[in-house]
């Protein structure tokens, strides 16, 4: 009752305030990232460190917030399973970002397969399972079909990786890629595509619903990672210097932006779960409160009741 009254009189409630504030902070941070990114690294040697630091911070923040949301679910809540995998995926990414930065500081050249890949692969598996669990919960009556579709998609992904690897192995090996490295180089974009498309379908299903926002982050990552993989496979050779700059700026902004989307989605979900869902519009409330029963003969008692049959031999 009190909450209802508050919602009617106070259109900007605390959860909404935090959601808006976090949106603004994310936007400012994205602008800052873009600005630093465009600085010349020779004139401003600290710029690269700031960029890495921002990415690591965003990744860690997303993972911490996701874990915070995870704790809000009851142990027997079905969505907790989705969020468990989702959180694990974000932690894999956060750890991968940190390790990658450390390795990058320690070594001039990194082998094409290194410690970070364990975490990247772990993250892909976790996100794939999160998406799979989400579909299972949307269609609880079609669990077998979803399982079958998941298995089929997994097999198709592996076949696509094998097929592409066979096609590209020659050129990758001449560029110095190891066998496992060449597999991973193909696995990442294919996984991005599969998980990204599945996430896109989830986003489409949730439409404007607040629950679907977390999946936007996976789409942003899929696009950004897809372009990056294309770069790794030698795509930048096809671009002019200026196009390369713009595309890499876009890709990196999207990469950083994806973490920010996760952060925002986690803030939004955290606020939703702590403070409840946004109230109904005041127009609908007023309409509801002023609604009256239809006047079809209601009023007289005799009109309202269906008289039972008069018992035989007992008339008054």
């Amino acid at each position: 009752m009190n909450q209802t009254a508050t919602n009617l009189s106070n259109p900007v409630n605390p959860p909404e305030f935090w959601r808006r504030l976090s949106c603004w902070l994310a936007f400012i941070s994205l602008l800052f990232y873009g600005t630093i990114y465009l600085l010349d690294s020779e004139t401003y040697p600290w710029a690269e460190t700031v960029i890495y630091a921002m990415i690591i911070l965003a990744a860690l923040l997303a993972a911490v917030l996701a874990a915070r949301v995870w704790r809000l679910f009851q142990p027997d809540d079905p969505p907790r399973r989705v969020w468990s995998w989702f959180t694990l995926g974000l932690w894999f990414w956060a750890v991968a970002e940190v390790i990658w930065y450390i390795l990058h500081q320690l070594y001039e050249e990194l082998p094409d397969v290194n410690l970070v890949d364990i975490f990247w692969v772990g993250a892909y598996l976790s996100f794939a399972l999160a998406v799979y669990e989400q579909y299972r919960q949307i269609h609880p009556q079609a669990v077998r079909r979803i399982r079958l579709a998941g298995l089929l998609l997994g097999v198709l992904t592996l076949l696509a990786v094998q097929f592409l690897n066979l096609r590209l192995r020659q050129s990758l090996q001449t560029q110095g890629w190891t066998l496992i490295g060449s597999y991973l180089a193909v696995l990442y974009p294919v996984s991005d595509l599969v998980i990204g498309l599945a996430a896109f379908n989830l986003v489409r299903m949730y439409g404007a619903g607040l629950w679907g926002r977390a999946w936007w982050g996976l789409i942003a990552f899929a696009v950004s990672d897809g372009i990056t993989s294309w770069y790794y496979l030698g795509g930048n050779a096809l671009l002019s210097e200026q196009a390369d700059l713009y595309l890499s700026l876009f890709t990196d902004l999207l990469y950083y932006g994806a973490y920010l989307i996760f952060v925002l989605a986690c803030v939004s979900r955290d606020q939703l779960m702590r403070h409840g869902q946004p109230g109904l519009s005041s127009r609908l409330r007023q309409e509801f409160l002023s609604a009256r029963f239809p006047q079809s003969g209601a009023g007289a008692v005799g009109d309202r009741l269906t008289p039972p049959e008069r018992p035989s031999g007992n008339s008054s």
Binding site: L72, F73, W211, P278, L289, A291, F293, S296, L305
Partner: protein, 331 residues
């Protein structure tokens, strides 16, 4: 005639028709819910049912049946200038049950048996898959229990006891347990009077009961589907939002976890359907903000499909089927 809910706290008075009218106006002014019983003669009784001050039914009861009365008929046929009058405050459900019992008169089965045999009698009704309203009058409690296909529906049962009104007094809980296991239950051997009013399909209380049950099942499936996707905390938040509004409206409809309970007294099916349609619209709006329109539409449809064809038909007749979001706005 046996008084209804005889274990409930009551006021026993005697007075003239004018005094009755005065009592009625008091019931109305205080927005009381309950019943007024008047013994107009040795074998005839008038029962007036009130819900929040509104006259919800007036009946003349005979030993073998009942008859709906118009308000102006209340003061006719009094044997003496003054009659015994009994006032009882009850929950809304009690009024609904009394009306069902009266409209389902005459009872098909009336018997007196010791409490020790109650479990086997209930077991027999279970095996015969009998449906109806069972009126039980005993030394500890008296009231009504709804049976659907032999199964007790506790949401539609109410008993007056010395402790107040209860859905399931201890002796009945024991007897029902015995009935479900098919064994004798340790119930006090005191004699019980039992009346079984079979469900008479087609009349208003039956229509309302069916609609209520169908809608409850639908809501249960819908809310479970929602919880499946968003978890208990979000479901609790939706319930809080909707219950707050329903309370403001003074409709006694409640969402509790993944359950819907309707304790409101609706005078006609149209009123009930109107309230239920509003509830659907509010739930639809709340869920859409979280899951999006398309998901919610699917949830509504999937949960509706879980209902039996009878229930689907009952709901469809009152335009309570899953509709695209826009259609709710035509309310």
């Amino acid at each position: 005639m046996l008084p209804l809910f005889k274990h409930a706290l009551d006021s026993r008075l005697s007075g003239s028709p004018a005094y009755l009218q005065h009592l009625q106006s008091l019931f109305q002014a205080d927005q009381q819910t309950g019943l007024i019983e008047i013994d107009v003669s040795s074998d005839r009784q008038i029962v007036l049912l009130y819900t929040q001050g509104q006259l919800a039914g007036a009946f003349r009861l005979f030993s073998a049946g009942g008859l709906a009365l118009e308000p102006f008929e209340l003061t006719r046929g009094w044997e003496k200038p003054e009659a015994n009058i009994r006032l009882v405050n009850t929950p809304l459900t009690a009024v609904r049950l009394v009306r069902q019992a009266i409209e389902w008169l005459p009872q098909q089965d009336q018997r007196t048996l010791p409490g020790t045999e109650l479990a086997s009698y209930l077991h027999q009704l279970r095996q015969e898959r009998r449906s109806g309203l069972l009126r039980l009058i005993g030394p500890e409690a008296d009231g009504f229990l709804l049976l659907v296909d032999g199964q007790a529906n506790l949401g539609e049962s109410l008993f007056s006891t010395e402790r107040g009104f209860e859905n399931l007094p201890p002796f009945l809980r024991t007897a029902l347990l015995g009935a479900s296991l098919g064994v004798a239950a340790a119930v006090s051997p005191a004699m019980l009077e039992i009346h079984l009013h079979p469900l008479a399909s087609g009349n208003l209380p039956y229509t309302l009961l069916q609609l209520r049950q169908a809608f409850s099942r639908w809501m249960e499936a819908l809310l479970q589907g929602y919880r499946q996707q968003v978890g208990s905390a979000m479901l609790a938040s939706l319930n809080q939002e909707i219950n707050g509004l329903l309370e403001l409206k003074n409709w006694h409809l409640t969402l509790r976890e993944a359950r819907f309970s309707d304790e409101h007294y609706f005078h006609q099916a149209g009123e009930m359907a109107f309230a239920y349609r509003w509830l659907l619209r509010l739930i639809n709006e709340c869920m859409s903000k979280i899951l999006g329109v398309q998901q919610v539409e699917r949830l509504f449809q999937d949960s509706f499909k879980t209902l039996t064809s009878d229930f689907q038909q009952a709901l469809r007749e009152q335009e309570l089927n899953p509709l695209p979001r826009r259609s709710f706005e035509r309310l």
